[in-house]
């Protein structure tokens, strides 16, 4: 008795979803975090709160609103239909959008902390050494915030792997498209296939522990550069 091909398909789909979500989040989360760490605009509070909402909202609430927005009458659904893409509910793309929303704070907040910790002085130094703002981002901010990026990537990835409610709301349970590991475990339990559920849950447990172990071990050495 071990993992079935359906289990492997769910694992593969989960890894694909988490990787894609993490990459997208790093790309869009970086400018948001940079802005949040530098701005003195009044919008800082509201935007920061919106980014942090998934931390407190039940995933079903986020899933519900996304379902409405992405559905045939929602504004995103209308837009994707206008583009000729149809609606994104119950599709892998829809799942990616949901995951990006749901895992946003787990990426933005470590990045924001890392950028704030750098302060303004290294940026001023770089400017007096003739580095333009883009140059400064790549040659000073990025390397100095590296621990923050590692933390953000790990948390974003791990949190996406662990997501369930949002997936169920907007993705449903379609093999190879939206049936991720957490949903597959749910199915096994519903069908009273406890042995199968054990295998997958055990794998998730080990995976999560290893991820957090890597994270907390790397934090210890974070202060030292050499």
């Amino acid at each position: 008795m071990s993992l079935t091909s359906a289990d492997f398909a769910a694992i593969w789909l989960t890894l694909k979803l988490a990787s894609l979500t993490t990459v997208i989040l790093l790309v869009i989360g970086t400018p948001i975090a940079l802005w949040l760490s530098r701005t003195s605009s009044w919008l800082r509070g509201p935007i920061g709160a919106i980014v942090a909402l998934p931390l407190v909202l039940p995933p079903t609430v986020i899933g519900f609103y996304l379902l409405l927005a992405l559905g045939p009458h929602g504004f995103l659904g209308q837009f994707t239909q206008w583009l000729g893409l149809g609606t994104l509910t119950f599709s892998f793309t829809g799942l990616v959008i949901g995951s990006v929303t749901y895992s946003m704070p787990f990426v933005v907040q470590p990045l924001q902390n890392a950028f704030s910790a750098i302060g303004t002085r290294p940026l001023e130094v770089a400017a007096t050494l003739r580095a333009n703002p883009w140059d400064t981002f790549f040659s000073v901010i990025l390397p100095l915030a590296r621990p923050g990026f590692i933390t953000a990537a790990i948390l974003g990835f791990a949190h996406t792997v662990g997501e369930f409610g949002v997936v169920l709301m907007i993705g449903g349970n379609i093999p190879d498209k939206t049936r991720v590991v957490s949903v597959q475990i749910y199915d096994h339990v519903e069908a009273l296939e406890y042995a199968q559920a054990h295998w997958l849950s055990g794998a998730m447990l080990v995976f999560s522990f290893l991820v957090l172990l890597a994270l907390y071990s790397s934090r210890k050495t974070r202060a030292g550069w050499s």
Partner: protein
Amino acid sequence: MIDVRLKRTYPGFELDVDLQVPGRGVTALFGDSGSGKTTCLRCIAGLERAEQGFVQINDEIWQDSANGIFVPPHKRALGYVFQEASLFPHLSVLANLEFGLKRIAKSQRRVDINQATELLGIGHLLERHPQHLSGGERQRVGIARALLTSPRLLLMDEPLAALDSRRKSEILPYLQRLHDELDIPLLYVSHAQDEVARLADHLVLLRDGKALASGPIGETLARLDLPLAMGDDAGVIIEGQVSAYDATYQLLSLQLPATEMNIRVTHAPMAVGQTLRCKVHARDISLALNNDAASSILNRLPVTVISEQAADNSAHVLIRLDAGGTPLLARITRFSRDQLSVHPGQRLWAQIKAVAVLA
């Protein structure tokens, strides 16, 4: 010529300066904390933007708010040394030095790595990382890094303030070498009179966001109308030219600028014609009606009394003297002033008890 006019307002503070200082040599921006000297420097660098500003460094205009010109700091040919060296912690010393160097065109480079490392004595540190350097070493690397951008203007914001006195005296000679060997104008912010006395050619005195005075260091320090004349540290700077050396007594004769007069200081040999900067404190000058040769005091100069002013306490007065064109300050008791009936135009002998060599 460095032409700087800045207006910048914060809640509870206003910087409003209009300065024209020489386009070469060291200009010190001197004042207490809160006098606006750092803000002034940051506005010149463009790190802060003065609401109304005009900044021209020799023939380059960096800001002219009347015409909507504001050159961003990374396009200004300046070198900036911060109070804390602020080296990049993720880069080695060499990579820190090269950071600015490789961002300027080869044709613009007038200082190379060898020259900069030799000048600041950091050749042996190149492979190290900033966290393995002492405070003094870090600051020397910071200065070299700024130099390597071949700046048209070097700005230093209290580069020694974060260091203890031993580290300070470790760096001061390097700063003096910069002054002597490189032809880059330097604006030097400081609240320490001893640093200013050693380094500066020109002094700008700031207080509450305004420039109280701006002029050559010798003249400005000898002005009685400035708060500089207050306090124990009051005195004048003399840049003397070596006229002779007496090896038997190890005495160096220094000719005072624009005079035939000499003062003598104990010093190691120096070649005739070289210059040496000294400070004569007002508290170290006493006045006599005639030239009393029977004394252990080495330096006695005929002087004319110019003016008098109250000193920092009511028991003393400050007397401004003229020694054949060189200004001197004497701090004497009010009692002595009345005993000698000191008055402007009077000819007296100044007895100089001590001359501090600033090198």
